[in-house]
Symmetry: C2
Subunit: 291 residues, 2 copies
Amino acid sequence: MDQQYILEQKAWIDKEIYKGIEQATSEGRLRDSILYSMRAGGKRLRPLLMKNTFDSFTKKNASYISAAIALEMIHTYSLIHDDLPAMDDDDTRRGMKTNHREFDEATAILAGDSLLTMSFETISSDENLSSEEKVFLIKELSRAAGPRGMVSGQMWDMEYENQETDVDTLKTIHLNKTGRLIAFSMVAGGYLAGVGAKKIEKLRRAGEAVGLIFQIQDDILDVTGDKDKLGKPVGSDETNEKSTYPKLMGLEGAKQEKRKYEEEVDSLLKDLQAENTPLAELIAYMSQREY
Amino acid sequence: MDQQYILEQKAWIDKEIYKGIEQATSEGRLRDSILYSMRAGGKRLRPLLMKNTFDSFTKKNASYISAAIALEMIHTYSLIHDDLPAMDDDDTRRGMKTNHREFDEATAILAGDSLLTMSFETISSDENLSSEEKVFLIKELSRAAGPRGMVSGQMWDMEYENQETDVDTLKTIHLNKTGRLIAFSMVAGGYLAGVGAKKIEKLRRAGEAVGLIFQIQDDILDVTGDKDKLGKPVGSDETNEKSTYPKLMGLEGAKQEKRKYEEEVDSLLKDLQAENTPLAELIAYMSQREY
C-alpha cells in the first residue's frame, strides 16, 4: 500500500466529512471551530480501516460512508476535549494550535459536544442504510465511545497520570482509549460488507490488537521518530512523565510486544481468509508508519 | 394535576434512570460523578411531558422509557457542561455543588460526554422498540440536541452574554437551548403512541411553545419567586447581567408574553383533541410552577 493511494482515499473521505458538517451546522463561530479541528491534519486511519475492511469482503458499492464520517467525528471530538486545560492541557496538535487555543475553551467544549451529537445524527439520517443497519452501527459506536469504552480509557489515563503503572494497566487504558474505536472501524466495515456474526467478533479482536499496535508504534516513534516527519517534538512522553511501552519494557521489549499483536492480527486475518487483502496491507502500513 | 402524582411519577422515572446508568457504566469515579448529577434533584419535567403526551393518545403499554431516560441524560449532560468554569462558571445548582466542584473539571467534562453517548446507546439497545422507532427517536434527539439545536442555543447564549439583546434574539436562544429538547419529549411521546406525521408537527410546535413558557416562568420566578421553594437565590439574573424577559419587557410584559404562548399551546392541543388530557394538565402545572 503506497502513500499515494492513502492520500487519494484521504482526500475523498475529507470531502465527504466537510459536506456532512456543512449540512448539520449553521454558519458561525461554532461551525468554524468544528471545521478547524476536522481539517487539522488527521490521517483518517479509522475511516481508511473501515473502507479497506469493507473492500476486503465485498465488491458491493460503498455503504460505509456515514459510519466512517461518524467515527471520524467522534475521534475528533475526543481530541478536542482531551486537549482542554482541565485534561491534557495541550497548546498544539500536529503543528497547529489546539481548538481552545485558536478559539476559546467554551467553544472547544461545545464543538466537541456538537461532533459527538452529529455522529449519531449522521448515521441515523443516512438514506442508503436500512434501519437495522443504522441501529447496529449506533449501538456499536456508542458502546465503543462511551463510559465502558473510549471515555473510560481517558478517565483512567488521567487517574494514572504521574502514577506508577504496569503493562496490564497500560494495555487496559489503550484498549479502551484507542482500541475500541479502531475495532469499531473494522466491525462496521465487515458488518456492512455482509460478514456474519462469528467473523465480526474476529474482526473486533483484530481491531483491538490493531489499536494496541498503533499505540505502541506511537510510543516507539516518540523515542526513535523523526521530529520533522512526526510534526511534533520527539521525547515529549519522557518530559511529560507519561507511562509508555518503551518506558515499562525498554525499546526492544516494546517492539517485541508490538510483534506479538502483529502475529495475533495475522492469525485472525488468516482465519478470516483476508491475509492478502487491502486490509492486511493497510494494517502493515500502520504498524510500520514513521509519523 | 397534583404534586403527589408528579412525585410518584418522578420516583418511577428516577428508578429507571439509575438502572440504565448502572448497566452502561463500570464502578468508579466516572460512574459516581454521572450518578451524582443525575440524582441532583432534577424535576424530570421532560420525561413527565413525554409520558403524559404518550398517555394522552394511547392506552398502549409504556414504550417511551428508553427515550425518556435518553432525554434526561442529554438534559443532565448539558447542565454539567454549562456549569463548567469556561461556560457559566457555577458553583452550585439546586443547592448542591456542581459536578466540577464536587469532583473536578476533567471528570465533569467526561461525565457529560458519557451521558451524551449513553443516551444514544440507551435507545439503540432497547429491546422493546422496532429498528424504525429507534432510528426515528435517535434522528430527532440528535437534531434537537446538536449544533442546530440545543448546543447552538448555548453557543449564542454565551456570545450574547453582557451584550444588549432584543426579544427576538432571546426567543431564538431559548427556542434552541430549551425548546428543542422539550419539543422532543412531546414529539417522541406522540410518535410512540402512534400519532401521524401532521399531529407530530403540531406536538412539535406546542413543545417549542412549552419550552418558551418554561423559560419565561423561570425568568419571572427569578424576580418574584420564593428563595426557599426555588432552592436558589432570587435576583441572580439581575446580578449576572443576564438578558431576561422581565428585563426586556417588564414583569407584566413577560407575563403577557407567556400568556401568548399558553394560548398557542391551548389552540394546538384543541386541534389535537387533547385539551382535557393529562398532558394539558401537566403543561398548566408547569406554566404556574413556583419552583
